[in-house]
Symmetry: C2
């Protein structure tokens, strides 16, 4: 569904690229969600658990910057994960403004058990692209994504 806007060639190209990028992302995520690879967890909850599993404990602000979410949002997501007993908040004694967020045993077990299915779903959905195409897409996205910084 390209745009119906009529502008210069440069504008049309940029706009169509923008639209296709967003649609690819949205529809890919919708297809992944439909595969139900993280039952009982929201996407945000899943992302937080995954970050904690693979990157280790960190404070909320770090989580927010890794996941590109606001502090307010992270507060809520951690609240909900805490209610589910999947993560815990611990005051950082070195800086009492911070909470150290880490996985509980239950959280670690859960994310460890569902992550492989998530990976398989991604592999399956991305299989419409050859490995070289995936690499190329990743490179272009990287270039576009970090116009700001890492």
């Amino acid at each position: 569904m390209p745009t119906h806007y009529t502008g210069t060639a440069q504008q049309t190209l940029a706009l169509n690229t923008f639209i296709k990028l967003n649609r690819a992302c949205d529809s890919l995520n919708a297809r992944l969600a439909a595969r139900n690879t993280h039952p009982g967890l929201s996407v945000s909850q899943f992302s937080v658990l995954e970050a904690l599993l693979h990157l280790g404990p960190m404070c909320q602000r770090e989580l927010g910057s890794k996941l590109l979410k606001s502090n307010a949002n992270i507060t809520l997501v951690i609240d909900n994960l805490e209610k589910l007993h999947l993560v815990k908040r611990e005051i950082n004694p070195d800086d009492r403004r911070k909470f150290q967020i880490s996985l509980t045993n239950a959280g670690r077990d859960l994310i460890s058990s569902i992550f492989p299915k998530h990976v398989e779903a991604i592999v399956a959905e991305l299989s419409v692209l050859e490995p070289t195409e995936q690499q190329l897409l990743g490179d272009l996205c990287r270039k576009l994504g970090k116009s700001s910084q890492e």
Copy 2:
């Protein structure tokens, strides 16, 4: 920020591609939002107005399928746009289950006036990629996005 997951080469590639795609999309949209090219409107509201401007009046379900949103969501967004007097609901006499959603004059004036700024912001943000790279990115996204259909 590539994954720290250790799987097969195929898994690692797919996962990294997936992460880069999502990050590119999120960070691009955040940078566009920071440019404040659609003041007073949410992204969803903007998208609906834009679809109506460029594609013409349509019913809610059509809007949802163009924008990849649920019916419930479209109902709310249209409610809010209606309160702002930017769109109107009119019963379709041929099928009274449907509302025909169209821009009011105020809505048309507004979206017409801000859309060019939006395009310029996209052109500026995408300028880190050469035209051929934008084309390539768009092609790869198209291929990935329509694993299902149109």
